[in-house]
């Protein structure tokens, strides 16, 4: 479980996050949604420790993460898997090397065990046989899936995804969403996804945290979201003609 309390973050005079509280339960996919510039990615980076919030606390299974020194953070970070917006695969390494990098660094597994693990992870994301390819040889969707394979290689307790569907076609987006949901159930990990893709929200949004101008405006499930009477949320959710049509159908 991840708990955040009263998170504040500023960049110069720009107060990006204004006191965000939330609890992200294990075994379910939690989504952070909001318009561009609402502070979603900043919140995610504050949670994983890439940004240090000025105020507030982040707890990973009741261990306070924000005040830990870098040595103590390492033990928690080894339980974290993260999928970045542009995949952030290491260019100079093959797909297999990308996946086993964490195992190389932190375990004493034999070469065969590591290769088996890489094959298992690749099979899990439907990319069997791509071990020797370099990131430059992969499509956008394949890069995302390798990113997921790398994230799960260390069997994470916490999975973070920063806009996993950006730049992908709808079919691949759905595939990635389903994969994230399956892995969350399989590993019973605490999964937090930052997105503004309404297909993802409707598909996998078991818990949704809506941010607007750096503030928490609403939280609940995707079904509750459709009934919510919050103007800012409705403006965001029903901005597209497709969602407007869906709302009219529901009504």
């Amino acid at each position: 479980m991840i708990e955040i309390q009263d998170i504040h973050k500023s960049f110069g005079d720009n107060h990006v996050l204004k006191g965000i509280d939330a609890i992200f339960e294990p075994g379910r996919v939690s989504l952070i949604i909001g318009g561009s510039g609402s502070g979603k990615s900043t919140l995610l980076k504050c949670i994983v420790g890439l940004h240090q919030p000025e105020q507030g606390k982040v707890y990973f299974d009741r261990q306070e993460f924000t005040q830990m020194d870098s040595e103590d953070r390492v033990s928690i970070r080894r339980d974290i898997g993260m999928l970045f917006q542009n995949s952030a695969l290491f260019d100079s390494m093959t797909v297999e090397q990308n996946i086993i990098f964490g195992l190389d660094m932190f375990t004493d597994m034999s070469k065969k065990e590591k290769t088996d693990r890489a094959n298992f992870c690749l099979e899990r994301v439907n990319l069997k046989g791509t071990n020797k390819l370099y990131p430059a040889e992969l499509s956008g969707g394949m890069k995302k899936r390798v990113g997921i394979a790398r994230a799960i290689s260390m069997s994470p307790k916490y999975l973070f995804c920063d806009e996993p569907n950006s730049g992908l076609d709808p079919a691949t987006s759905i595939l990635i969403d389903e994969l994230i949901q399956e892995l969350t159930e399989e590993y019973q990990c605490t999964t937090i996804v930052v997105t503004h893709d309404m297909n993802s929200v409707m598909g996998i949004g078991e818990y949704i945290l809506f941010l607007h101008k750096g503030e928490k405006f609403w939280e609940g499930s995707n079904e509750e979201m459709l009934q919510a009477d919050v103007a800012e949320l409705n403006n965001f959710v029903f901005a597209s003609p497709l969602m407007k049509a869906a709302r009219n159908t529901i009504k």
Partner: protein, 244 residues
């Protein structure tokens, strides 16, 4: 501003010299970087040093117009100039352009594509993993390259002097053997060691803290080379003043 950057550079070095997560991985990286920095720069160093040696011989011969000075002095001046100054410093300035810009671009593009964030998230000391092998490779390979550069420059002087007729080979060889002070080589090696550190750590710093996109990565590379060259020349003066 300059103090801010100097402070940030020192703090980065503190992170770089933290205990590695796994030495085996770092050693592999060190050998890889030694190949990139050392072997990869060998051709350039060979060509530049040979020509510098040849040109130096011709220019010294041009300036020594007195019949009272033996031509063997040409070899002696060429040797000492190359050992003390041209070998280490010109090699360092050239490598700052080649190796320095490559390091800055590599680390800078890893920063803007979130690869450094990915390392941090995995619990890896990104500064240590990316920069320490480069610094070790730099301080190990730079003295080797400088010794090769000095040898090539002296040989280049012999070839250039002979081909142009500026100095007879026997006179030149007699010159490079006469009045040799071994301490000059020690000065050259100290310079090479310090330059190796600057060539790798300054661009790594500029790349590691780059913000923005491709444009900023390019600008960081340019700044790294300019700052690195100035640092090399400043250290050149300090080491010379302290050791000679």
């Amino acid at each position: 501003m300059i103090f801010h950057h100097f402070g940030a550079y020192i703090l980065l070095l503190r992170k770089v010299f933290k205990k590695p997560e796994k030495w085996k991985i770092y050693v592999k990286e060190i050998f890889h970087e030694m190949n990139e920095i050392g072997v990869g720069s060998l051709g350039l160093i060979l060509i530049i040093s040979t020509f510098i040696g040849a040109v130096m011989t011709l220019q010294i011969a041009f300036q020594l117009v007195s019949d009272l000075i033996p031509t063997a002095v040409i070899g002696q001046i060429n040797r000492d100039s190359n050992i003390l100054e041209l070998g280490p410093t010109i090699s360092a300035l050239v490598l700052m352009g080649k190796v320095g810009s490559a390091i800055s671009s590599q680390i800078g593009s890893m920063r803007v594509t979130e690869q450094i964030d990915a390392l941090e998230i995995m619990g890896i000391n990104a500064a240590g993993y990316l920069i320490l092998p480069k610094i070790i490779a730099g301080v190990v390979m730079m003295p080797v390259l400088v010794v090769i550069a000095i040898f090539c420059a002296i040989t280049g002087g012999l070839i250039g002097g002979t081909l142009s007729g500026a100095v007879a080979p026997t006179d030149y060889i007699q010159g490079i053997q006469g009045g040799f002070n071994g301490f000059t080589v020690a000065v050259a090696l100290v310079k090479a060691f310090i330059y190796g550190f600057i060539i790798t750590s300054v661009p790594a710093y500029k790349g590691f803290y780059v913000r923005g996109g491709a444009l900023e990565v390019g600008q960081a590379g340019t700044r790294a080379v300019v700052i690195g060259c100035i640092a090399i020349l400043a250290c050149d003066y300090i080491i010379t003043a302290l050791m000679l």
